[in-house]
């Protein structure tokens, strides 16, 4: 019985929508003679819709045929497709217009899949807005790789349209502009932001590679990516600090080639063979301290491979408990917070998964209900066609009432579900944001590592200096070469000292950023989750009411069969 489920469903879906549409259209009685042959999408089910004339008794007033408009029984005496139920049914149905993205902060009609486009500092700047749209993907050719032999590699560009009234973007009251960008540009933007905004919860960018499913074609992939890019850019625009960054502005506004440097991540470019080995690797041991400017950057993304190796060594020694680092993460509050964030992330993952399952179950409920309705529609037609006895006609009528209710209920389930998806998407969105938090925490940890590394270098340098001084003091008159060495070491120590101070300042700065970001995130998350819950619940209530009224009507229509003795 169950084996052929897939076949049936696949075959049924094509005609399901058609049948339902026809059945519920007020001006068509699918049980009457054929006047629907013009609708070519019905070719498969035509035989059901153009039966021979039927001896339907006149008492069989079909509420679905054009007249009569007033039915004696049933809800509000309204014979439209469904009875308007009270209260929430009407409230819920338009929270998703675009206005919510522009202005945010009105909670009643708030929410969309890009939930975070609220201005968090809602107190003063409610009139600021940035609205970003990603559209019209186009294929373009990379002319630099075109040659006589081969066509250049092709890539897709997307049109990025921005509407904003932020002052940085020029022309006071509001401006609109567009640029074309390719995915590689987005990667660049993300990398630049990661460097400039250490400690911030930066929304993660869309993946480079995409999980390929068998059914996914080029078009689907491009569409998926377009949606993902839009989401990403909107999240950036929602971030109170990042939206004002140069990087974002340049990305959104400057036409032509993106004037941001591609990633300075030397290590990965080395793997591409695109870079010469930096001379630090071959330079002498004593030479080349750490460039002060670069200390303010994470080792990983920077030019300094030597520093990378040193910090790696330091972190290993930290982990293996060799020598205790001079500065330890002793901020208990931070550690607790980190723990909490991990717990939260875990629960969001779980809730997000259960939300997926819930959505699927709601969908299937709607589908099966619809299929049941259709099966009864067919039965109704069949009994009417073959009717010999009145009892058959009566039964056909009963079935029709049931079928109508089932088809309507099925619609409501599916509408309910598409709204539910939008609400519960908040959970999915926060998965990405939790990653951003982890990123911010990681910035802090890596900054701390830099400090630790410098401190331990400092102490080893000082140790060497001491030894040299002790040794040279035994030689009378001084040891020219040794004295020179001592001088060099002292120079290095001074440099390292400076670097250490910079690193410490950077670390403190990042700590600040972390803290304010986490605060902001907590606040926003609370509001977003609240909205999610509210939207979800209002939806459930509204649609449950609608579904209830549909079935109440069907129960009334079959009330003569009520056998429960009171």
């Amino acid at each position: 019985m169950m084996g052929s489920e897939n076949d049936d469903e696949a075959h049924l879906h094509a005609s399901t929508e058609d049948m339902e549409n026809l059945f519920l259209r007020d001006d068509v009685d699918p049980l009457a003679t054929s006047d629907v042959n013009g609708d070519k999408s019905n070719s498969g089910s035509r035989h059901l819709l153009s039966p021979p004339p039927i001896t339907v008794t006149p008492a069989d007033s079909d509420p679905l045929s054009a007249p009569p408009r007033s039915k004696p029984n049933g809800g509000g005496g309204d014979s439209r497709s469904y009875i308007e139920p009270p209260s929430y049914a009407d409230v819920i149905f338009s929270p998703f217009d675009d206005n919510s993205e522009i202005n945010g902060s009105d909670e009643g009609s708030h929410h969309s899949s890009d939930s975070l486009s609220r201005s968090p500092s809602s107190s003063s700047t409610t009139s600021d807005y940035i609205k970003i749209t990603v559209s019209s993907p186009q294929k373009e050719q990379d002319s630099s790789t075109t040659s006589i032999i081969s066509a250049g590699s092709a890539y897709i560009t997307y049109l990025i349209t921005t509407k904003t009234n932020l002052p940085d973007y020029g022309s006071g009251s509001g401006s609109e502009f567009s640029v074309r960008r390719r995915f590689r540009d987005v990667v660049t933007l993300a990398d630049r932001l990661a460097e400039s905004y250490r400690g911030f919860c930066i929304p993660p960018r869309p993946d480079k590679s995409v999980v390929e499913s068998q059914v996914m074609q080029r078009q689907e992939f491009v569409e998926q990516r377009r949606v993902a890019l839009e989401k990403y850019l909107r999240r950036l625009a929602a971030h109170p600090v990042i939206r004002k960054s140069d990087e974002v502005r340049v990305f959104l506004q400057v036409e032509g080639k993106l004037p941001l440097l591609a990633s300075a991540d030397v290590a990965s470019r080395m793997l591409d063979g695109a870079v010469k080995l930096p001379k630090q690797l071959f330079g002498g041991e004593g030479g080349g301290g750490v460039s002060v400017v670069e200390v303010a950057q994470p080792a990983r993304g920077g030019r300094d491979l030597l520093r990378l190796f040193k910090e790696l060594r330091q972190s290993v020694s930290n982990d293996w408990g060799g020598s205790k680092p001079a500065v330890v993460e002793e901020d208990k509050e931070f550690l607790e917070k980190k723990e909490k964030m991990l717990d939260l992330e875990r629960e969001i993952v779980n809730a997000s998964q259960q939300a997926e399952t819930l959505v699927k179950a709601q969908q299937e409920m709607g589908e099966t209900m619809g299929e049941l309705g259709l099966a009864f529609i067919k039965l109704t037609k069949f009994e009417n066609e073959e009717a010999v006895f009145n009892s058959q006609r009566a039964r056909a009528n009963d079935m029709k009432n049931l079928a109508t209710a089932a088809v309507k209920a099925s619609r409501f389930y599916r509408e309910l579900n598409s709204q539910t998806v939008k609400h519960l998407d908040t959970l999915h969105d926060y998965l990405g944001l939790m990653m951003a938090v982890q990123g911010a925490f990681a910035d802090r940890s890596s900054a701390l590592l830099t400090v630790q590394t410098l401190l331990s270098e400092l102490s080893s340098l000082e140790g060497r200096a001491e030894k040299l001084e002790a040794a040279s003091s035994k030689v009378f008159g001084g040891d020219k070469s040794r004295i020179k060495k001592i001088e060099e070491i002292k120079e290095t120590i001074r440099n390292t000292e400076d670097a250490k101070n910079v690193a410490i300042r950077e670390y403190e700065r990042i700590k600040e950023n972390n803290w304010s970001e986490v605060e902001r995130l907590d606040r926003e998350r609370r509001a977003d989750f609240l909205n999610m819950m509210k939207g979800f619940v209002v939806n459930q209530v509204g649609y449950a009411e609608k579904i209830a009224s549909v079935w109440t009507k069907a129960a009334e229509e079959t009330s003569q069969y009520d056998r429960e003795s009171s």
Partner: protein, 404 residues
């Protein structure tokens, strides 16, 4: 055979429920108290069958016996043999899946179906007179077992036999279509229409029943997913501070509540909607079996009529030639003629019965399905309203929290 006596006896208006105990004849039975007996592979369920009646043929106003599924099968088979043309009420299927056989759900559904089965027989004007019914309702367990084992001889109709009959009917149709031997088959337009109706109806009903069964599953799945979602949401709330944490906790609790409502409704849909549809399908299959019987009877009637004619012709020939074989031939002819007449009577009785049965069947089904539809609609309305109420209770708190 008691077939003749049934023809001639008037069908008494036997009631199902005792209105005025003394006057109106009534007969009602109920199947209750399923109990598991035996061990391992031999294990089976026994039921208590309670009969209440004032009919003189019965041993008293009330009688209780213990019966098992195969006893019901025996009764059905006997009635099928003796009351050709009547749509014998169908039995619930034998369950193939071992594990499921003793689940509470299955046992209850079977009990209910067996109860319906017996009552349908008791309220059928012809079947209620059956001696086999009396045996079934009254005989002690040992006698019943003896009767049941006798079946392995003459009357044993295994499910395979029913299948064979269906195949016969179907192969007759396909033979005709493929233009094989000239089919000995009724071809009156009315009867053709009826046969076509029955076969088509089964297909439509089977599809409806399939979707009804799936709908039960969907209720359960939705219920389960809401349960899991509720739990997940509660855990999430535990990570959040106030007021979000409490709200999540409330949301989770409501979700679990709604889940329970869905599970309950799933059970109702199974028993009050899907089962009646399954019963409808079984009934149609029983009709198909009767169609098979009619075809057999028709064939016999035709063949015997043919043979009788031939014998008559042969007899006339012999009489003309004044052969000494005339006497023999005359006896043969009379015998065949009597058989032929009996076959015709049997066939015609089947036709008459079927005509009456069809009317009953259609009316009965309209009533039963009407009840099923009504209950289904009521159940769905109740469920939806319950769900709306449950979620609605959360709104004041959510409103309060978002206006802060």
């Amino acid at each position: 055979m008691e077939s003749n006596s049934i023809d001639q006896s008037q069908t008494r208006n036997v009631m199902q429920s005792p209105r005025s105990p003394s006057s109106h004849p009534f007969l009602s039975a109920s199947v209750t108290d399923p109990v598991k007996l035996g061990n391992g592979v031999q294990a089976y369920i026994s039921y208590r069958v309670i009969t209440k009646t004032n009919l003189p043929e019965y041993q008293g106003p009330e009688k209780i016996v213990i019966r098992r599924y195969s006893d019901f099968v025996w009764l059905r088979d006997r009635l099928f043999e003796k009351y050709k043309g009547v749509f014998i009420p169908p039995l619930p299927e034998k369950s193939a899946v071992e594990k499921f056989r003793f689940s509470a759900e299955f046992i209850e559904m079977r009990r209910a179906a067996l109860d319906v089965f017996v009552n349908r027989i008791a309220s059928h004007p012809e079947l209620q007179q059956s001696e086999d019914l009396r045996t079934f309702l009254q005989a002690d367990e040992e006698t019943m077992e003896r009767f049941r084992f006798q079946e392995t001889g003459i009357f044993n109709k295994k499910p395979a036999d029913f299948m064979q009959m269906f195949r016969d009917v179907q192969s007759k149709v396909s033979d005709a279509v493929l233009g094989k031997e000239k089919p000995v088959e009724e071809t009156t337009p009315e009867y053709e229409k009826l046969k076509h109706y029955v076969f088509e109806l089964e297909n439509h009903l089977a599809e409806a029943q399939k979707h009804a069964y799936r709908l039960v599953k969907r209720h359960r799945e939705l219920g389960q997913s809401l349960l899991d979602f509720g739990k997940a949401v509660k855990l999430l709330g535990a990570c959040e501070g106030e007021p979000t944490g409490k709200l999540f906790s409330d949301l989770g609790t409501k979700s679990e509540l709604v889940s329970i409502k869905l599970q309950k409704e799933a059970q109702q849909v199974l028993m009050n909607f899907e089962e009646p549809l399954k019963d409808y399908v079984r009934y149609v299959q029983s009709i198909k079996a009767t169609i098979g019987e009619r075809a057999t009877a028709f064939k016999q009637h035709c063949e015997l009529a043919e043979t009788t004619k031939l014998k008559e012709i042969n007899l006339d020939k012999l009489m003309l030639t004044r052969s000494d074989k005339v006497g023999e031939a005359e006896i043969e002819y009379r015998e065949i003629k009597a058989e032929s007449e009996e076959a015709t009577i049997r066939f015609e009785r089947i036709v008459k019965r079927m005509n009456e049965e069809i009317v009953r069947f259609q009316e009965q089904k309209t009533e039963e399905m009407g009840v099923a539809f009504h209950q289904f609609a009521k159940g769905q309305a109740r469920l939806a309203n319950g769900i709306a109420d449950a979620w609605r209770a959360l709104l004041p708190k959510l409103e309060a929290a978002s206006s802060v």
